[in-house]
Symmetry: C2
Subunit: 186 residues, 2 copies
Amino acid sequence: MKKIFFITGNKGKVQETTRKLLPLGYTVMQKDLGYPEVQADTLEEVAVWGASHVQQRFDGCFIIEDAGLFIDALQGFPGVYSKYVFLTIGLEGILRLLEKVENRKAVFKSVYAYCEPGKKPLIVPGECEGTISTKKQGNHGFGYDPIFLPVGAEKTFGEMTVEEKNLYSHRGKALEKLTVMLREKD
Amino acid sequence: MKKIFFITGNKGKVQETTRKLLPLGYTVMQKDLGYPEVQADTLEEVAVWGASHVQQRFDGCFIIEDAGLFIDALQGFPGVYSKYVFLTIGLEGILRLLEKVENRKAVFKSVYAYCEPGKKPLIVPGECEGTISTKKQGNHGFGYDPIFLPVGAEKTFGEMTVEEKNLYSHRGKALEKLTVMLREKD
């Protein structure tokens, strides 16, 4: 078993990542180190910036991840500031902003940065297209999960188990790419 | 005349700052250098972080400023991310989030960082309490000005001249403190 540290405060993300990487022989260990996040236009910038800060303070092999919900009718809002928006106006705020709005398209995006000591981080993105539901559904997952309906599914992320969500989700998609890269590397 | 550089891309802020500092013998010159802004809980953190980045690349005497609108009923949203929120959901989004909301209290906050080469930045905050109007009023100023009614005034910042706005505003208040400090220093 190879050990990989996930630098995050979010237990839900650790759980999803563990389920994907465990079959590949990776034990994922949560480490809530904290690192600065830059105000940027893209998740990639936030991830690269964060990874270089963690590398200065931590010597092991680690991943960090940044994710966001980009809503079409709101010019990409809440985007890279999804966490802050969730903690302030919340799901109710998002539903209110979309009241009577026909175009409910949205994309969930995730970017992992995989880092080995002394090496440039590997950046792996993943996306999941979907729509915003008209009300909260389900209490699984976290964040915007109860209002996000992925394309091809008949329920929200909030109504799915971790395994089901991983089949569709932005993080699941990014982790699939990452696992291919890790397999090729070994 | 002493020269001071204002590192910003916002002409409206330069105009307000010029009108306050000119009578004190300072010429304000805009310099749109750009600097990273960190995702943080307070404007102070953003300003300190930004100032130290500019100091690494610029040798003159300069100021930077960060401002935000903190709405009571929305847990401080849009706060430190006011610019991003303005560019995505805009004033219409804010008015929608506050539809039928009785508590319309808000605070406009500003933080200036004044920097001389090789010295620690001087951090100067200013605040202006007010309420959010129920519709847009006026087309002066910028950003949230047309929906912000300062306490003691009968019109929004969007309906005021630069001079009037400076009497009430968060930036005006911060600049008053800064001018006292600059006067004492000389």
